[in-house]
Each structure stands twice: as structure tokens, then as C-alpha cells.
């Protein structure tokens, strides 16, 4: 149980991320929540690939061949870049909305309804 510390923190970070996304009303804050949630998922994927006592999967001057799994790291790289792309586009939306609506409060950005 104690050794599952990374997984437990993933769960707690998910909790905080979802709370920010649902409970907060400011768009920029919500995007920070999305960032935290993405990072939590990334941490989860990296933690899945960790082997006790393993080293990074790089043969350059490596002392042994007990290596952690490389695929999660590849997936995580991809997901980080996707995360920054997503964040950039989301923030662009927020800036343009501020220009027309004059606010970043989600309760006031509701011209489209019904």
C-alpha cells in the first residue's frame, strides 16, 4: 500500500483536477485543471512502466540492463505535446471570448442555449 504512493497521488490529483474543472467558474482556472488532470494521467502512465531498481532505458554508459519499460515514456512524450497543443488552443479561445464577451466567467458565456 505504501509503495503504491504514486498511484495514490494520481488518484488525489485526479480528484483535485476534476474539482477545479467542475467547481471553478473562471475559464483560465478550468484550463489549469485540465493541465493538472493531463499531468495526473501522464504520471499514471509513467508509474505503470516503472520497475523496482530499474534504470532509464538508455544504453549509453548504463551500469546494468534492468531497465524500466520504454513504451510508457514514449506514450507520455506524445501526450505531453498533445497537452501543450490543447492548452494553447484553449487559451486562444479564452482570449477571443474575452474580446467579445468581456468576461472569462463561464456563467456569463452562455449566449448559445436551448
Amino acid at each position: 500500500m505504501f509503495w503504491n504512493l504514486p498511484y495514490i497521488s494520481v488518484v488525489l490529483l485526479t480528484l483535485i483536477g476534476i474539482s477545479i474543472i467542475i467547481l471553478k467558474k473562471n475559464l483560465i482556472k478550468i484550463f489549469m485543471g485540465v493541465n493538472i488532470l493531463t499531468s495526473a494521467v501522464n504520471l499514471f502512465i509513467i508509474a505503470v512502466g516503472y520497475r523496482d531498481g530499474g534504470i532509464a532505458p538508455i544504453y549509453t554508459n548504463a551500469p546494468s540492463t534492468n531497465m524500466v519499460l520504454p513504451t510508457p515514456q514514449a506514450l507520455c512524450l506524445t501526450s505531453i505535446v498533445i497537452g501543450v497543443a490543447t492548452t494553447a488552443l484553449l487559451l486562444t479561445f479564452a482570449m477571443l471570448l474575452y474580446r467579445t464577451y468581456g468576461t472569462t466567467d463561464v456563467d456569463k458565456i452562455r449566449e448559445l442555449r436551448e
Binding site: 474543472i21 475559464l27 478550468i30 485540465v34 488532470l37 493531463t38 494521467v41 499514471f44 502512465i45 505503470v48 519499460l69 513504451t71 510508457p72 506514450l75 506524445t78 501526450s79 498533445i82 497543443a85 490543447t86 488552443l89 484553449l90 479561445f93 479564452a94 477571443l96 471570448l97 474580446r99 467579445t100 464577451y101 458565456i109 449566449e111 448559445l112 436551448e114
Partner: protein, 524 residues
Amino acid sequence: MITDFLLHHTPALLVAVPLLGAFLTPIIGRISPIVRKIWVMGTMTLTSAIAVLLVYLVYTRGTFVYVFGALTPGLAIPPDSGGIPIRIIFTVDPMGAFMDLIVAVVGFCVILYSLSGDEKRTGLHYFYTLFLLLITSVLGMVSTGDLFNFFVFIEISSLASAGLVAFSVEQGRAVEAGLKYFMISTMGGIFLLFAIGILYGQYNALNIAMIAERMQFTSLDKIALVLMVVALAMKCGAVPLHFWTPDAYSLAPSTITAMLVVVSQASLYGLFRFVFTLYNLTLNYVTIGWVIIILGVLSMVIGVTMAIPQKDVKRLMAYHAVSQTGYMLLGVGVGLAVLGNQAALDTYGFIAIEGGLFHIINHALYKGLLFLTAGAIIYRIGTRDLNKMGGLGHSMKYTMIFFMIGALAIAGIPPFNGFASKLLIYESVYLFNPLLAIIAMVVSILTLASFVKVFHSIFMGPTLPEYSKVREAPPAMLIGMGILAVLIIAFGFFPQLVVDSLVAPAAHALINQGSYISAILGGA
């Protein structure tokens, strides 16, 4: 030599050609509008041709396996690996090819349509770049056999379509619609990534066939299944996750709305693929089947009842898109709920799946046509408010005819294609549970009612003085719409031919998990 090349590398070219076109469009698009049009049109035509070739190959030779980066692209498992696929594999089985065909046909018509009527806009090279990226992502989503690759493609489709929804940045409402769509899609993407992480952590594989073979259905798998179902049901716009649909569909340019329908169909494909191929009988298929059925029924009823009071023509059609998605979910959900019961599957379950899949292609055709006609009307008169329209039947005769074909098809009036697929769904669902079939019929009647309203308020009545100078839509638009209309009529007149040659192989491929696995892993 060139045919040999084409025959061996079709799945790779299917994605590489539009991608290369998209990468070069921002550069080439700066030269002049004519060059840009030729470039985009050429790329799209080539892509459609390759997709049709791939569909032909898959339907004649069976599942097409293409391994990216291996020395022999047909060999899914390297000999020294001990029986595991290690690279990214495109597995185009008849189900995937069926979706490829839809993307190719609708994409081609949409690009033909968009050749005219874009003079008023700025930033068109960005528009066409994102359009080609959207096409690529949908083709990739329906062809891939790798979970993470699916996630990457779904993210491309989210970003590209969100950008395209907000294309008219000068209206704040379009940006708002884009934000809502993109935010919800991002959450769906995170869900999907989480599910992929869970599956990877348990089975150390990303290939769908490999995971399907190792699947044990632990409680972790159930969590992954729920995350996937929620994410993809959101992407395909099932009630109660449909809130982005009317916003995004109504404020995107009409060409993009027609493509967004296809994107949501591709998500639907992903949902069916995961539920049928990844989990199949190992999952609690009755529960998840009923979950899909309930989502479908909710979508049908709430979609159509929300559509009736709408005053914006595209918003109304968007709610109908939600409602029609419900039919597909209902048909395939019934098939899933009886998957373990061979007798029931033979009598009506398989036909329900056939109906659901047939409805996918029909829906893409007629909903695409309807959105394109709405786009032509908005292009000519400049408003989308139904209260301000009227009497356009006098000046836009061809558009009216195309609209009528689409409206009758969506309402399930014979002899158009919507009737054939709806009939399959009604009759098979009636054997499963009569109440569901009755709900489906009532929804169909309400659909007809609301399209009568739209037809009356747009085309009927005397020529209004403010629209006395309105002319017919430009010829390129009419050709794009005409191809779709001809296909709708053809599908309506030869339903059995389409079902036998296109839909039934796809349905077989969907429910037959073993053949998908053995296409990759061999034997077994």
C-alpha cells in the same frame, strides 16, 4: 509497377497523401486562390480514390493488415518476438472499410461544394489545411488497429474540428461554440488516455487484437470500458452528453457541419469497435448493451423533441443529428445485448446490427445533404433564422428538390434510403422489445413533422419582398449536393444490394471477434 506499389501500400497512402497535402497547403495556399483550389481538390480526389481502392481490396480480399515500419508490411508478428505484435498496425477490416467509404464520398462532395461560395471569407488556406487534417484524422481513426494511435487521431480530429467550428471568429458565438466543443472533447480525450493507460498497464499491449486476446475482464477493465464508452458516446453526441452538438453544428460553416457528422460517425465506429472487438463476450454484454440502448432511446426522443421548437435551421438539423444517432445506437445496442444468445442473434440481433450500420451510411449521406442545402440557403439569403425565411421555393428550385430528398430520407419515407434502414431497425427491435420499436416509430413521425415545418417555412409561401433578388445556388454547390442526392435515391432503390455487398460484411466483421484477432495474431 505503380499498380503494385498502390496495391501494397494502400493503407499507408490513405493517411500519408492527405497529410502531405495538409502540410503543404499553408505554403501553397499563399500563392493564389486558384492554385490553392486545384491543390486541395487534387489532394482530396486522390485520397478518395485511394480510399475507394482500399475498400475494394478489403471487400474482395479480406482484412488488410499493414504494419508501419516493418520490412514486410503484411507480417503483423515479427518472427523473433514470441508471438506479439510490436509495431503500429493498420487493420482495415470490412467494418473499417465501410467507414472509409463514407468519409471518402462525403469528403469529396463537401470539398466540391466548398469550391464555390468561399469568396467572402478570409484565411482560407488555414481553413483547407484544417479540413484536410480533419479528413486524415477520420480516415486514421477508422483504419487503425492500435489504441494509442486511435487516441492520437481523435485528438487531431478534436483540434481540427474545434478550429473549424470557430472559423468565423468575428462572431463571438462561433468562438463560444468552439470552446464548448473543444473543452468537452478534451475531457473525452483524457478519459480515453486514462483507459488506454489502464489497459496497457495490465496487458502490456496497445494493439486492439492483442488486448482482446488477453482480456480477462477484471474490475480495472470495467473501469477502462466505462471511461471509453463515456468518452466516445460524448464524441458521437448521445444524450445526455450531446450539449456541444447543437452549438458546434449550428455555428460551424455548413461544409464543416457535414464533415462533423462524419466525425461523430467515426467516434461511433470507435465505440462499436471497442465494445465488440475489444471486449465482446468477456464483458457483461447485457448490461453494456442496455446502456447503449438507453443512450440511444434518450438520444432519439430528446433529440427530436428539442428539435421541434428550434428557430435556427442548422440548430434544428443538429438536434435531428442527435436523434438519428440514437437509431444507430439502438440498432447496434440490441445486437450487443443478444450477442451471447446465438438463436436470438440469428433471428433478429444480426439484422438489428445491419440496420444500425446501414443507418450510419444513410445518415452521413442525407444529413450531409441537408446541411449542405442549409448552407446554400444561408449563403444566398444571409440569415439562418427560420422566422425570417419564406417563399424561397420560387427562386431556388434545385436546392428545394435536394432538401426535399434529404428531408424525406431522414423522416423514413419510402423509397429513400432512410426508410430501408429504419425498417430493418423497427422489425428487429420489435422482436427484441416492442416498446423500443414503437418509440422509434413515434420519433420518426416527429422527425417528419418537424421537417414539414422547416420545408414550409423555408420554401413554401409567396415570394417575400426581401428575397425577390435571390438566385439559385452556384453550380459547384449543386453538383456536390446532387451527388449525395443521387446516392440517396440509389441506396433507397437497391437496399438489398447495399446490405448484401456493403453492410453485411461489415456487420459480420463487427461481431466476429475471432476473425479480427486471427487477422493479426494468426491462427487462434
